[in-house]
Symmetry: C2
Subunit: 287 residues, 2 copies
């Protein structure tokens, strides 16, 4: 996916947000924002892949902030809360139509910003989850995914969310498939790395765990280990979680690939041909 | 007021917004956003007056868009809706404590984005207005303003809002004062110019109408007519409506000056020493 005009203010707002997570010093916050502005001035265009711009802007902000992981505390809290909610979600998934429901739980996991703005997940997570179980996904290709589970490459997204990804991993194995889990090679935004995959116990549910090889937003093949490139080519199904992985992987032609996400912004929704706010499990079987 | 780090993404988001108001062409939208990014790269610093940055960014965007007034339709709608609500607001103001209530109505006029996001002003305006009448302003220096109404300079802000400013003008005259109304010299954002002051009939309520001499955000004295500079020096009271006029006039030492606004963002709230969301009528009597 290429960048949209509205990506520029959104990325800059995110840089400001991570600056406030990292420091209370307005001068340092300003320098991070200025570094972001400079990078946008150098790179921003609607002909440029969105993740090229986002990877660059966050790397520059992290460098100015002298902070490898401004979201560290937020990530930790997300995992803790998700692990608390997990038994309830697991029970609800296993009651009926478990593969589809596990996908839904993992998408709802992508929806909720745990620990943000007074949100109380114990109260609302089950309500929202049950709501999406009832009304269904807005695009639902889960049935078509079922026949492609032999050797799945599962590309994870955020902390917190990854705990619910574990429910999908369970279902893939229950249905006789193998699964390779992919996490980020180094901290970026709220994304899960090897550290969090291990701390949450999710890495144990996979037959193999790979990383993207770097802290690039989504996946940057120029920075990815050969093993991951091979796995992308050979997987019976790639499952890609969240918006940033969609932005990155939609620039390549790997097939079959299923994108599981909530379309939280207009550009992603427009690129996918869906509406903002939709919960989407969309399969691209052929290039 | 100097710029805050978070002003940068906010300004860029506003540029994107006005680009979408002006054109459906994503390439032209992109060029407006890029021009904004370039200007931020040139000008953005927390030592720079906020309105220097905002005036520059919108002028560049308007130029790229080839559009003198991207908000024209929105301004027109705001005035129409405000005029529809006016008789009800006027009745409520005159029921009790009319000077204070007129100030409150003009601040509530600053609060509401008429015609935005499905807001239905006929239904909610009276409820919100009555609510603020009841609970009062969060900072209320209206009593101190009453003794300073001999020769008021009233610096207006947005279309729609200006209709309710007329209620304050009525009260100033009722209390024996004279009033000079100041509107923008040319279109900028949703601000009222001479055209809208006349179309709404508000200009007739003033003893004299001046303009800021340009489309600068707030007031830029380098671009203002001598008459306005004199009036700023000689007024018995300056009443400044809205955030942008505060950002601009707080860079100077004109006194006494009353700022009437809702603090819609953190930087303004921090600069004024109030909380975000507060309705404020604050008087600075001495430099």
């Amino acid at each position: 996916m290429k960048a949209y005009p509205r990506c520029a203010p959104c990325l800059l707002a995110r840089v400001h947000y991570e600056a406030t997570l990292s420091t209370d010093d307005p001068e340092l916050q300003q320098r991070a924002v200025q570094a972001g502005v400079r990078w946008l001035d150098d790179s921003f265009s609607i002909n440029t892949p969105a993740t090229y711009i986002s990877t660059g802007i966050h790397r520059r902000a992290y460098e100015v902030l002298g902070d490898e992981d401004p979201y560290a505390a937020k990530k930790k809290m997300s995992n803790e809360i998700a692990l608390k909610v997990l038994p309830m979600a697991e029970k609800m998934v296993n009651e009926d139509d478990a593969f589809r429901r596990s996908i839904i739980a993992s998408i709802v996991g992508n929806t909720l910003d745990f620990g943000v703005l007074g949100f109380e997940p114990e109260e609302r997570f089950d309500v929202y989850l049950m709501d999406v179980f009832k009304k269904g996904l807005d695009v639902d290709d889960t049935d078509k995914m079922k026949g492609l589970l032999d050797d799945v490459l599962y590309i994870a997204d955020n902390c917190g969310e990854i705990v619910f990804d574990g429910l999908v991993l369970d279902q893939i194995k229950r249905l006789g498939g193998k699964v390779t889990l992919v996490v980020k090679g180094a901290p970026i935004l709220t994304d899960a790395t090897l550290k969090e995959a291990e701390e949450t116990g999710i890495s144990k549910k996979a037959d193999r765990v790979l990383t993207t090889g770097s802290n690039a937003v989504g996946v940057d093949l120029d920075e990815a280990p050969d093993e991951l490139v091979k796995a992308l080519k050979n997987a019976s199904l790639i499952i890609s979680k969240g918006m940033a992985n969609y932005e990155a992987l939609s620039e390549y032609d790997f097939r079959p690939i299923a994108y599981l996400l909530r379309a939280k912004c207009e550009p992603i929704a427009a690129s996918l041909g869906v509406k903002k706010g939709w919960n989407v499990a969309i399969l691209y079987a052929f290039a």
